[in-house]
C-alpha cells in the first residue's frame, strides 16, 4: 500500500494537483523574510506510529488483544471526516464503529496523500471522494485475510465462513473466532488481489447516520486540541509580525517587557518579535510593553481602494487568459434581442477559525518535535526541516484535532514561524497568536472584480454568456517561482466555467491581478466566489426577461438532470411562489461544485432601516451516496451559516498597508440569534459521493442577494451587502449596527471587574 492513491474523480483539476508540491514553503518563507529558496525533499516512508500483530496496510491495525485501530489519512476539523472514513473501512471490514478507535496518520505523502491535492492534505471537500474506493478496499482486503486465517485454522472452505461485527463464524458449525484471536494468523495470509466490494444495496453502515467518533470528548473538555498541549518545561509565547505585509523588524526596545514578572525571553525574527513567558498572560503583557520599530516596506501606503481599482483596470485593459470558449460568441451577441451586463465586487476574507493559530515546538540538539493541528502535516514537517536544517526523519509531528480550519490550516507558515522562535531557546515553547494577530496576518481569500454579460433571445433565455473573472492566483502562492504568466489558474474560474445550465455559447476568461498581500483558499474556494456572480446574474437575467427565477432556471436545466432534480425539490419544499408579506422575499441559488448539486432557497425580510433578518433556509442536495446523512445535513447547516456570515458582515480592508479589522467586534460572525431555521432535503442517489464540507457555503451569498432583490427590488453586487443601500427613503437615518449585542455573561464579567476595556465599550 505504498502507492499514492489513484485519482478517484476525473473532474479534479490537474493543476490543483500540483498545489502542495513544496510551494507552500516559498510563500511562508517570503513572509518570514528569510528569503530562502524552498527545497522539496523526498519524503522517505515514515512508519505509522501504531504497531499491531495484523497491519495489512497503512490504515488498519488489529492487535491480538482485539483492539482495532484505524489510521486515517485526513484530519478532523469538525467536518466529520474521521467518522466518514472510519465508516468506509468498517463497512467492508465488518466491524461496528463502536469497536474501533481512530488516530491521525503521521506525516507521509507516500502513504497518505490525497491525489487531487498532490500531497497529504485535507481540503477542497476531497476527503470522501478520494477515499471512497481506497478505504473500502482496505477494509475488504483485511476482512478477506481474517476470514482466510479462520478457514485455515478450522480446515474448512473460505466460502463457509462469514465475518460480522469483528467475529468470523463457520456457518455450518457455528464455531467462532474474534478478529483479535486471528490477528497473528491473518498477517501471514497472502494479500488478496481480487477484491470485490459490496453492492451499495447491502451497505449496513454507509448511508446511516452513525454517531460521530470524535465528539464524546468535546462536551467535557477532554479533547486535546493543539492549543491545549502541555509538555514538561514548556513556556508560552505570543508574537507580533510586522503589521504591513512585506515589512521587517527594524528595532525593538525590550527593557520594559523584561521587567514584567513571568517574562522569560524576547525572540527576534526578520519580520516579527515574540515574547516568551511562564504563561500566555506574561507573554501578552510583555508583547504590549515592547517598543517596536518596523520597516513598513513597499506596502506602507497600500489601501483597499487601490487594490480594487487595480483589479478594475486589469479587468478592462489586460489581455485575459481564456478558460472556455464555445460557439459563435461575437455573432450571438450582435444578434441578441437584448443584452444585460453587470460587474460584481468581492472582498478579501479572513478565515478566523475559533482556535487561534498555535504550535508547540521543542527544538533539541538533533531533532525537532511539533504538536499542532494542521491540514497539511507533511508541509508542517517540511517547514520545520527548512528552519532547523534537520532531515525530515528528525522532525516528529503530532497532529491534533483542529478547532476550525476552513483553509487557514492548509498552509503551515505559522509552524515555520513557531520553529524559528523555538530554535532560539532550549525549552519547548507553545506559540499562540492573539485573535488580532490571526485576523491581521491571515492569508486571505482574494478580492475579485468580475464583469459578466449575456445576450437574450426572443424567449428571454440567454443565447450567449460571457464571464470575465479578475483576481489573484491562489495556486500561484503554492508553486515555487509563482504561477506561469500565461497559464490558467482554474481555481479562479471554478464553477464559472461550467455552470449547470444549457448555455451552448459561452466565454469564460480570467485576468490575473495578484494582490500585494498573501492569499489562499477559503471555505468553498473558487465556487464561493464564482457562484455568487453566476447565480446573482442568472436572477438578473430572469428579471430582465420578466420570468420567475425558478421558472427561468427550469428552462435552462432541461439537459441537466441532477441540477433539475435539486431545483424541483427545493421549489416544492420551500413553497416557492406562495405569497410573502411586504418587505420579505425569497431568493434561490443553484450550483454544481465538488461533485455535489445543490439548490437553496432563503427567506428574508428587510426593514425600512435596511436591517436584514434571515428567516428560513431550505436546501436540496444531491451529493451522490450520503455516507452519513446527518453529517451531510450538519455540513450544509454550518456551511450555509459560514457563507451568510461572510455575505452579511465579512470583509478585510487595508489602510496604509495595515488590516483595518482586528477581532470579532469588527470582523463579525453570525450569532445564534441571527441564524435562520434550516431545512435540508436529500435527492436519493447512487452516484459516488460528492464533497459536502464547502457546498452550502457556496449557496449562501447568491441566495441572499436574490432574496434581497425579491424583498426590495435592489440588486446588490458587492459583498458584504451594504445595508445603507437598502434603507427606504423614509427610514430614520440612524446607522445599521454591525456590532454584536453585549450578552448577559459579558455584562456579568464586566460587573465583576468594574471596568470595560476599550473594545467592549465600543461594542456597547
Amino acid at each position: 500500500m505504498s502507492k499514492p492513491f489513484s485519482s478517484p474523480n476525473p473532474k479534479t483539476n490537474a493543476s490543483r494537483r500540483a498545489f502542495l508540491q513544496g510551494g507552500g514553503l516559498l510563500l511562508g518563507f517570503a513572509m518570514l523574510g528569510a528569503g530562502i529558496r524552498p527545497v522539496v525533499a523526498a519524503t522517505d516512508p515514515v512508519e505509522g506510529d501504531v504497531s499491531a500483530a495484523f497491519a495489512p496496510d497503512a490504515f488498519i491495525r488489529i492487535g491480538t488483544d482485539g483492539k482495532i485501530t484505524f489510521i486515517l489519512p485526513n484530519i478532523e476539523m469538525g467536518q466529520g471526516t474521521h467518522t466518514g472514513e472510519a465508516t468506509l473501512i468498517a463497512e467492508e471490514l465488518e466491524v461496528g464503529l463502536d469497536q474501533v478507535s481512530v488516530v491521525d496518520a503521521p506525516p507521509n505523502d507516500k502513504l497518505y496523500a490525497t491525489a487531487a491535492l498532490g500531497g497529504q492534505a485535507t481540503g477542497g471537500s476531497t476527503s470522501m471522494r478520494a477515499t471512497w474506493e481506497s478505504l473500502r478496499k482496505a477494509g475488504a482486503t483485511a476482512r478477506m485475510m481474517l476470514v482466510s486465517a479462520a478457514a485455515a485454522q478450522w480446515s474448512v472452505p473460505v466460502s463457509e465462513c462469514a465475518a460480522k461485527l469483528g467475529v468470523v463464524t463457520h456457518q455450518p458449525t457455528g464455531r467462532q473466532l474474534a478478529y483479535g484471536a486471528l490477528a497473528d494468523a491473518a498477517g501471514k495470509q497472502p494479500v488478496p488481489t481480487d477484491i470485490k466490494l459490496k453492492d451499495p444495496r447491502d451497505f449496513e453502515l454507509i448511508g446511516k447516520s452513525l454517531r460521530r467518533v470524535d465528539t464524546s470528548g468535546k462536551v467535557n473538555g477532554a479533547v486535546v486540541y493543539g492549543i491545549d498541549v502541555r509538555v514538561p518545561g514548556m513556556k508560552v509565547a505570543t508574537v507580533a509580525a510586522c503589521p504591513v505585509f512585506g515589512g521587517t523588524l527594524a528595532d525593538v526596545d525590550d527593557k520594559a517587557a523584561r521587567a514584567i514578572p513571568g517574562v522569560r525571553d524576547i525572540v527576534r525574527l526578520p519580520n516579527a518579535v515574540a515574547v516568551i513567558g511562564d504563561h500566555f498572560w506574561a507573554a501578552k503583557k510583555g508583547l504590549a510593553a515592547l517598543d517596536i520599530t518596523w520597516n513598513d516596506g513597499a506596502n506602507a501606503r497600500l489601501g483597499s481602494a487601490d487594490i480594487m481599482a487595480a483589479l478594475k483596470t486589469a479587468s478592462e485593459h489586460k489581455t485575459p487568459i481564456m478558460a472556455r470558449k464555445e460557439g459563435d460568441v461575437e455573432g450571438k451577441l450582435k444578434a441578441a434581442s437584448k443584452t444585460v451586463e453587470a460587474a460584481y465586487e468581492l472582498p478579501f476574507l479572513a478565515h478566523a477559525p475559533m482556535e487561534p493559530i498555535n504550535c508547540v515546538v521543542h527544538v533539541r540538539a538533533d531533532e525537532c518535535e511539533i504538536w499542532v493541528g494542521t491540514q497539511v502535516p507533511t508541509q508542517a514537517q517540511g517547514w520545520a526541516a527548512q528552519v532547523t536544517g534537520f532531515p525530515l526523519d528528525k522532525i516528529i509531528v503530532h497532529n491534533h484535532l483542529i478547532g476550525g480550519g476552513f483553509g487557514r490550516r492548509l498552509v503551515a507558515e505559522s509552524v515555520g514561524q513557531a520553529v524559528a522562535i523555538a530554535k532560539q531557546v532550549s525549552y519547548p515553547v507553545k506559540v499562540i497568536w492573539t485573535r488580532e494577530e490571526d485576523i491581521q496576518h491571515d492569508l486571505y481569500r482574494p478580492a475579485y472584480y468580475d464583469r459578466i454579460s449575456a445576450g437574450l433571445g426572443p424567449d428571454g433565455l440567454p443565447t450567449v454568456w460571457i464571464d470575465h473573472v479578475a483576481g489573484g492566483s491562489v495556486l500561484g502562492n503554492y508553486i515555487p517561482g509563482g504561477w506561469p504568466e500565461d497559464k490558467l489558474d482554474d481555481d479562479a474560474v471554478e464553477s464559472a466555467v461550467k455552470p449547470p445550465y444549457d448555455l451552448p455559447v459561452i466565454q469564460v476568461d480570467w485576468v490575473r491581478q495578484d494582490p500585494p498581500v498573501p492569499i489562499t483558499w477559503w471555505r468553498g474556494v473558487g465556487p464561493t466566489h464564482n457562484v455568487f456572480v453566476v447565480e446573482s446574474f442568472m436572477d438578473e437575467l430572469a428579471h430582465a426577461a420578466g420570468k420567475d427565477p425558478v421558472e427561468y432556471r427550469r428552462a435552462l436545466t432541461k439537459n441537466q438532470p441532477r441540477a433539475a432534480g435539486v431545483l424541483e425539490l427545493v421549489a416544492e419544499k420551500s413553497g416557492w411562489g406562495s405569497p410573502m408579506p411586504a418587505g420579505s422575499g425569497r431568493g434561490i441559488a443553484l450550483h454544481d461544485a465538488f461533485g455535489s448539486f445543490m439548490a437553496a432557497v432563503l427567506e428574508i425580510s428587510v426593514s425600512p432601516a435596511g436591517e436584514i433578518t434571515l428567516h428560513r433556509a431550505v436546501v436540496a442536495v444531491d451529493c451522490g451516496i450520503a455516507i452519513n446523512p446527518n453529517t451531510v445535513e450538519a455540513q450544509i447547516e454550518g456551511g450555509l451559516i459560514f457563507g451568510l456570515s461572510a455575505a452579511l458582515y465579512s470583509g478585510i480592508t487595508f489602510t496604509n498597508g495595515r488590516v483595518d479589522q482586528s477581532n470579532f467586534h469588527d470582523y463579525r460572525i453570525l450569532r445564534n440569534n441571527e441564524a435562520p431555521k434550516i431545512e435540508v432535503y436529500h435527492v436519493k442517489s447512487l452516484e459516488s459521493p460528492g464533497g459536502i464540507g464547502e457546498t452550502a457555503t457556496v449557496s449562501a451569498a447568491p441566495a441572499l442577494a436574490n432574496a434581497i432583490f425579491a424583498a426590495t427590488g435592489k440588486r446588490l453586487r458587492s459583498l458584504p451587502f451594504d445595508r445603507n443601500q437598502l434603507r427606504s427613503d423614509s427610514a430614520d437615518k440612524t446607522s445599521v449596527s454591525m456590532m454584536p449585542p453585549l450578552s448577559v455573561p459579558v455584562l456579568a464579567a464586566l460587573a465583576i471587574t468594574g471596568e470595560a476595556d476599550e473594545s467592549e465599550a465600543e461594542a456597547a
Binding site: V219, A222, W281, M354, G403, G404, N672, I678, V744
Partner: protein, 150 residues
C-alpha cells in the same frame, strides 16, 4: 498567593492579580477545556460559571473571583442541567470542530439552571454571546430545548 475554588477544589495560585481567570485555568492549573478565542469577551469560548453565573473568563481578573465557586466544562457534567446539556449535545450531534462548544455548554447549562423552560427569545439572549464558526446554531437551539424536556 490567590485562593480559588475550582470545580469544588480549593486551590492557591501564585499569579498576578490582573491575570485573567482563563489563563490561570489553562496555563497554571492545567484545565484546558476552557478555550481562548478572542481575549475581549466577544466570542464566549472562555465561558465558565461563577456560582452558576456564566462569565467570560478571558476578561475576568483572577483577583476579582473571590470566594465564588468556579465551575468549568470539566465539571459541568456533575450538575443536573450540565449533564442534560451534554447528553442533548451528543444526541443531536450538535458538535463539529467543538472548539467553541465548551463555552456553549457552559452558557446553555447556566441558562437551564435559572430557566428550566427557555423560550426562543430566552435562548437568543443567553446564547448570542457565544460564536460558533462551524455554524451549529440551529442544533444548539434544538439541543437546549431537548435538554429542557429531559
Amino acid at each position: 498567593m490567590i485562593a480559588l475554588n475550582v470545580n469544588g477544589q480549593d486551590r492557591s495560585v501564585d499569579v498576578p492579580d490582573d491575570m485573567p481567570l482563563l489563563w490561570v485555568l489553562r496555563d497554571v492549573i492545567g484545565l484546558t477545556g476552557t478555550k481562548f478565542g478572542c481575549g475581549i469577551a466577544q466570542c464566549g469560548a472562555c465561558t465558565v460559571q461563577l456560582d452558576g453565573q456564566p462569565v467570560r473568563s478571558c476578561v475576568l481578573p483572577v483577583a476579582s473571583v473571590g470566594t465564588r465557586h468556579v465551575t468549568t466544562v470539566e465539571a459541568i457534567g456533575a450538575t443536573p442541567s450540565g449533564k442534560k446539556v451534554q447528553q442533548a449535545w451528543l444526541d443531536l450531534e450538535v458538535i463539529q470542530c467543538g472548539y467553541c462548544q465548551s463555552g456553549q455548554i457552559m452558557s446553555a447549562s447556566a441558562l437551564l439552571e435559572r430557566n428550566p423552560n427557555p423560550s426562543d427569545s430566552d435562548i437568543d439572549a443567553a446564547m448570542s454571546g457565544n460564536i460558533c464558526r462551524c455554524g451549529t446554531y440551529t442544533r444548539i437551539r434544538a439541543a437546549i430545548k431537548q435538554a429542557a424536556k429531559a
